[in-house]
């Protein structure tokens, strides 16, 4: 097995990465250990090795860090899988727009119950659920006697941001009665729709 140790202690970024790159380019190294003595170099070298298809491990010894990159077929496969998974986690953001105080048309009492159940079930989306936007009749859900208030507050506690349309609150005379979420404007709503990866609309 072709193994090399590179001592980059005392070197500032980006030198450790460039030295590692030089070694890798000169000959196919199956296992490369890089010694660095500062956190910036540790992060940069780890990133570089991962990008080059190495499985990366750390060891802290006497105030220095030893970063070890190992390359074989299975390690490469793992690394790639891991990367894809991380990207999924950070990238998907779902915004849910609720523009009424009930779900669907037909019977309003039923529609109100459905919406309550819908909001209660939203957490099943998991970490992808990013933001709720309440518009028009949807802002009525945020006041004290709303049946959905408890569900909305519990979503907010879990870190889901709730934007409530200020123009709509004013229109219904509810500006002072809102119990959950952040009063907002159309620019925020438009940028939230643009920033989200998926927008789900409930009319």
């Amino acid at each position: 097995m072709n193994e090399q140790v590179l001592d980059c202690r005392g070197l500032a970024c980006p030198s450790p990465v460039l030295k590692a790159k030089e070694i890798i380019e000169r000959n196919a190294v199956a296992r490369l250990s890089v010694l660095v003595d500062n956190p910036a170099a540790r992060e940069n070298v780890s990133r570089f090795l991962a990008r080059m298809g190495y499985a990366v491990g750390f060891l802290e010894e006497d105030g220095a860090f030893r970063i070890t990159g190992t390359k074989d077929e299975s390690a490469v496969a793992c690394e790639v899988l891991e990367e894809v998974k991380n990207q999924d986690e950070v990238q998907t953001r779902i915004a849910v727009i609720i523009a009424a105080d009930r779900m669907g048309k037909g019977d309003d009492t039923l529609g109100g119950k459905l919406l309550k159940s819908f909001i209660g079930t939203l957490k099943e989306m998991g970490p992808e659920l990013w933001r709720l936007i309440l518009l028009n009749g949807g802002v009525k859900l945020t006041v004290e006697d709303s049946e959905c208030l408890g569900e909305l507050q519990s979503l907010e506690r879990e870190g889901i941001s709730i934007l409530v349309c200020g123009t709509c609150l004013t229109h219904f005379g509810l500006l002072e009665k809102k119990q959950v979420g952040e009063t907002t404007n159309m620019l925020d709503i438009v940028t939230a729709m643009q920033t989200a990866d998926k927008v789900v609309s409930v009319m």
Binding site: A12, R47, R51, L187
Partner: protein, 307 residues
């Protein structure tokens, strides 16, 4: 009027009812290999502090460190020629300078400008309900490293150099026609660091729309390759306890948002309605990369929220 207390870009001293002096000094080590380009960039970087205060530069002096004994003086001449071109482009005059023999090259300007006292734009001016406009793309810190390492394509290199050498003059002139509440330029502390200065100075929360921040080509690649300068990591760590929502952001993008910029753009805070028309005016006036990148609210003080 403005001193050392508020981390502002330049000092401002009132000399009469309708005139104040703006003074600033800045010098940097080379960020690109070409000496002429380095001269333009270092000068644009120094002049920018005057623009960020709402001022107009009048005079400039060279500040230069150079290894006279070990390096060809033609390099020095090229640096100074680049600096002079930028000073002229700014409509200012070079009136002198000072040089020191030093093993490491450094260059910049001491700039004096003027501003109307009622038009001074401080960090602390941002107000709840404002939108934030950034006038240049970010990524110059990590790309400067990529340029030194030769790990960048020629078009991306040229783009980064031209971005850094572009004066903030045009953006500042267009901005002066609008009811701007606060302004700073994005330099060594990165977009997050300077945004945080603004949020702290103005006692507001700034929300950055991370997906809408304009980025230079290949900047994300360079971060992924491990070319982040140590200063940018310090920025990220320094800001981290005042930032919410960082977990939702791709770590590579997060590093880019804290990337130390050389001669970065202006970060302008003004009410939403005129912000949309300022953005239009900037774009049609040649500041093509300008974008709305955030908003200001009074929900917290001294906090950055990432979306």
């Amino acid at each position: 009027m403005i001193g050392r207390e508020t981390s502002d870009d330049a000092g401002v001293y009132r000399i009469s009812k309708d005139m104040a002096l703006v003074q600033t000094i800045d010098f940097i080590t080379p960020v690109v290999n070409d000496p002429y380009d380095f001269g333009r960039i270092a000068a644009a970087n120094s002049l920018s502090d005057v623009y960020a205060m709402g001022g107009r530069p009048l005079t400039a002096m060279n500040v230069v460190c150079f290894p006279v004994s070990s390096m060809d003086k033609a390099v020095l001449r090229e640096i100074l020629r680049g600096g002079l071109d930028a000073v002229h482009e700014a409509g200012a005059v070079l009136v002198g300078g000072h040089s020191v023999v030093d093993p490491e090259i450094k260059f910049g300007l001491s700039v004096t400008g003027v501003v109307r006292p009622d038009k001074v734009l401080a960090n602390a001016g941002a107000k709840g309900g404002d939108a934030l406009i950034l006038t240049k793309p970010i990524g110059t810190g990590v790309l400067a490293t990529a340029i030194k390492a030769g790990l960048i394509s020629e078009p991306a290199r040229r783009r980064a150099v031209e971005t850094m050498a572009t004066l903030n003059r045009k953006a500042a002139e267009i901005m002066s026609e609008y009811p701007v509440n606060g302004c700073t330029d994005v330099t060594g502390f990165g977009l997050l660091g300077h945004g945080l200065e603004m949020a702290t100075g103005a006692k507001v929360r700034i929300t950055l729309f991370s997906a809408l921040v304009p980025l230079l080509p290949e900047a994300l690649d360079a971060v992924g390759m491990g070319l982040v300068p140590a200063g940018s990591f310090s920025n990220r760590n320094f800001c981290s306890h005042r930032i919410v929502g960082a977990k939702r952001i791709d770590p590579v993008l997060l590093d880019l948002l804290s990337d130390a910029q050389t001669s970065g753009g202006l970060l302008i805070s003004l009410p939403e309605e005129p912000a949309a028309s300022l953005l239009q005016a900037l774009k049609s006036g040649g500041v093509a990369d300008a974008a709305i990148v955030g908003r200001v609210s009074t929900a917290d003080q001294g906090i950055i929220e990432l979306e």
